[in-house]
């Protein structure tokens, strides 16, 4: 029995071990940043296969914790994202004073997310959520000398606290009306009772805050802009993905009796999110703000996929997140390198970038094409499958709206490509020497962007694991 728990919780346990190891490194003898970074990157790399073997179905802690192959896969995608972020922040962290602390915060947050994804009880879910949010606020403050960074941290912690409050209120109403917090039991108690619908709205608002769906997105741009790029990447990819995974599993598992209600809610949210995200993204010049708003729009597309409420719906969500990890992190990777080596973060600084840095330009361009959803990149398949899943409800107005919004998003992604390839700049970014590790991460991302889409077995694998409504 005990050994069972070890296997079921292997991903969480490895992460905890990593955290302790970091503490030992910290109290041990002085090591150079490079050594620490290399050790961590290797360990993270070794960590990846852990999810692939062993028994994966089961529960622990009296039904608080549950896991299956699908959940293990979701966690592994997050592991992959952490590895890529870590490799890409090499240039930034090399000169940072508190490397070990940075990883401590990130890993703790990830651990919280793992528990949140695996939760089978609203208490466990809330515990995981808080555990993942609070370290992130500290991490957002990690550009220690920048005022904007601490402003971002403050905004993040305040808005998260607010949204957690709303979420908690929803949970307590739910408990009040049903008398249980366990997912398995809850389903039978869900109905069209006004109090429960109110609880549901509160719950959705809490989630919408975390995934920055419009109209709960207002914190996003400022926090993204102020945080160090690595943390921004973490916030926009890992943290959103984890909450989306949990949101979907709660909708599909617990809220099945009122599926028609949340379908309506999702449609409204996704329409607002796509439109506002797109319109604001057009106007941004700061690269991080730009990616922030474009990621808001992407969440809108994800919500359409989830609204399909079929096996294809949850499969396309995970598939898209995997692709999003590759494409968004490739884009963030380039921005991280440029920002760490030159301090420039504006799109207008990237004018004429191709003349001096052809490699980075192509990586960025391919990433942006994938985000825009242009074939043959994987983003095309990801976005299309999301919309196909959503179209299963035969709500063609929504699909037309989303398809036309892809054109708007195409415009602003192409604007960046245009700046890189076609425009002139008096003071172009000079030729940058990219660290080998970071280059490797970019190669992985580009390979992922191309292979994940064209090789259908990735989607088929995810589909075979996923569950519908």
């Amino acid at each position: 029995m005990l050994s069972n728990i070890f296997i079921l919780l292997r991903q969480e346990l490895i992460l905890s071990l990593l955290i302790f190891l970091l503490l030992f490194i910290k109290i041990g003898k002085e090591r150079s940043n490079e050594t620490v970074l290399n050790i961590i990157n290797i360990l993270l790399f070794v960590n990846l296969p852990a999810g692939l073997f062993g028994m994966s179905e089961g529960g622990a802690f009296n039904g608080m914790f549950t896991t299956n192959a699908f959940i293990v896969l979701e966690k592994n995608i997050l592991n992959l994202a952490i590895l890529l972020i870590s490799m890409q922040s090499y240039a930034w962290l090399k000169h940072h004073k508190q490397v070990a602390e940075f990883y401590l915060l990130i890993f703790t947050s990830l651990l919280g997310m793992f528990f949140m994804i695996s939760s089978d009880n609203l208490l466990m879910f809330y515990l995981g959520l808080e555990m993942s949010t609070i370290p992130l606020a500290a991490a957002a403050n990690f550009d220690l000398a920048k005022r904007k960074s601490s402003e971002a941290a403050m905004k993040l912690i305040l808005s998260s606290a607010f949204s957690s409050g709303i979420l908690l209120m929803g949970i307590s109403f739910l408990y009040g009306t049903s008398g249980t917090l366990s997912f398995d039991v809850l389903t039978a108690h869900i109905g069209n009772d006004p109090m429960q619908l109110f609880a549901f709205i509160l719950l959705v608002s809490g989630f919408a805050f975390k995934i920055s769906a419009v109209p709960f997105h207002l914190w996003t741009a400022d926090v993204y802009e102020g945080s160090p790029v690595a943390v921004t990447a973490f916030l926009s990819v890992v943290s959103k993905a984890a909450v989306l995974f949990t949101f979907t599993s709660i909708l599909y598992k617990v809220y099945t009796p009122i599926a028609s209600v949340w379908y309506g809610v999702l449609v409204v949210l996704s329409v607002a999110t796509i439109l506002i995200g797109n319109l604001f993204a057009i106007r941004q010049d700061n690269f991080k703000r730009f990616l922030a708003f474009s990621s808001i729009a992407q969440v809108g597309f994800i919500l359409i996929g989830i609204s399909g409420s079929s096996q294809a719906g949850s499969a396309s969500l995970v598939y898209f997140v995997l692709i999003y990890v590759f494409s968004n992190l490739a884009a963030f990777g380039v921005v991280t390198v440029v920002s760490a080596l030159t301090g420039k973060e504006n799109i207008s600084d990237f004018k004429g970038f191709y003349k001096t840095n052809p490699f980075l330009s192509w990586v960025l361009a391919i990433a942006l094409f994938s985000l825009a959803g242009v074939p043959p990149t994987a983003g095309f398949f990801g976005k299309l499958f999301l919309m196909m899943a959503g179209a299963a409800k035969e709500n063609y107005g929504l699909i037309t709206f989303a398809a036309l919004n892809m054109v708007i998003s195409f415009f602003y992604y192409l604007k960046v490509v245009k700046a890189i390839f076609m425009e002139e700049n008096e003071q172009p970014i000079q030729k940058l020497s990219v660290p080998g590790v970071t280059k490797l991460a970019m190669y992985i991302c580009v390979a992922g962007i191309i292979i994940t889409g064209l090789a259908s077995l990735v989607y088929d694998y995810i589909y075979s694991l996923s569950i519908g409504l």
């Binding site: 095309f380 398809a403 390839f421 259908s456 075979s464």
Partner: protein, 493 residues
Amino acid sequence: MNLSLLILLPLLTALLILLSKNLAQIRFIGLAGSLAQLGAAGWLLKLFMDQRAAGNTATYLFETNTVWFKALNINYHIGIDGIALAMILLSALVVVAGILVSWTMEKLSKEYFFLLVLLSMGAYGFFISLDLFTLFFFLEVAVIPKFLLIGIWGSGKKENSAMKLALMLMAGSALVFVGLMGIYYNTHSFDMVQIGQMGISLGIQKFFFPFLFLGFGIFAALFPFHTWVPDGHASAPTAASMFLAGISMKLGGYGCLRMAALMPDAAHSYSWIIILLATIAIIYGAFATMMQTDLKYINAYSSISHCGFVILGIGMLNKTSINGAVIQMVSHGLMTALFFAAIGMIYSRTHTRMVAQLGGLLKVMPFISSVFVIAGLCSLGLPGFSGFVAEMTVFMGAWQNPDGFYRIATIISAASIVVTAVYILRATGKTIMGPISDEHALLGDATWNEKFAAGLLIVGILIIGLAPFLINQLIMPATDFLMINIDKAITLK
């Protein structure tokens, strides 16, 4: 022959170009790759005709069907009929000519040839697809290369033109996508052959046909969504203009044709709108051309007018007119590519494309001028060239429609030929005849690569023009098959 070869060849060429070290290698690989494509297309033609001669009456030959995304019932289903094969031959010819014309391109030449080859891959993939999803995939593959080609190597307000083109084409694809979703969720299949056999219910057809037809129509410069054409073509570098007008616009026409065959009832009931838009495009394009002073704009606007004939032929929905539409696609592809090549050659020597600043070029560049004249005469539909055969067939088909509205549309469209003659003869006369300005007096004639490129395209034009039965023989069985469904729909009315 495995049709995937048509995708693999360009892909391989593109990869080799990426690996090559200097300009000479890039040129060599590009040319060798495109010649290999032409060879493969020619070989395919031979095999195709052999099979047909041997009595193989299957609609699609060389069919292969591989599962791609199993869970979503998406298959990599490829195969060709005569129409697709005609398009493939056209693309192969234009690709070779395009590569040859870009021989002197030195700015970022590796990227340039890479993108050109990628563009051709999209076209081949599109024409061999029998699955709507792969069709859509390849339709969009070609958008980004176009954007980059125009934006980086173009001239004039190239960034704006590139953006306009990319956004309008993406909007077209978005409409196509919605239509595809509609079909998919009502037939649970993307397979064109399967869907054709099953049929789609009338209500669904009527609702989704406009999405698909307009979507593809944007690619084919359907009025009023033609506005990307003039700017895009005018700003693009020569080879990209040739590809755009010669191949890319044909993606739209081909798509419209397939959709009309897939949803014949809707096509029939909307045919008056299609005819109306096509007639407007023909007339509007012709008159707009008259006002142009830039050679590239002249050809771009005349392309709108000529592509209108394709749509007109499809909209008339009878065998002759659809045959004419297909021949017009091929003919216009060759002719307009030739025209753009000639304009490019003139521009690279005189550094101007304004008609007013040119004159007497026949004296210094007889070859280029002759090419220019041939392209012009083909464009105005002189017998002996492909343009005559194509337009004549469309008109003959169109006249078979006894309804008054269709008759009037046909008459108006036919009248546009006069306008065409005016602008073509005027442009040709001003650039080629008359006195030559001093600064142009010492310019040289075409080089070997330009002669080769023009020669190839002219041969294509003449084959269709002098022996139209050859292309008819190729496409007739395919149109016969398309007509089975369409006739059924029309007689039901």
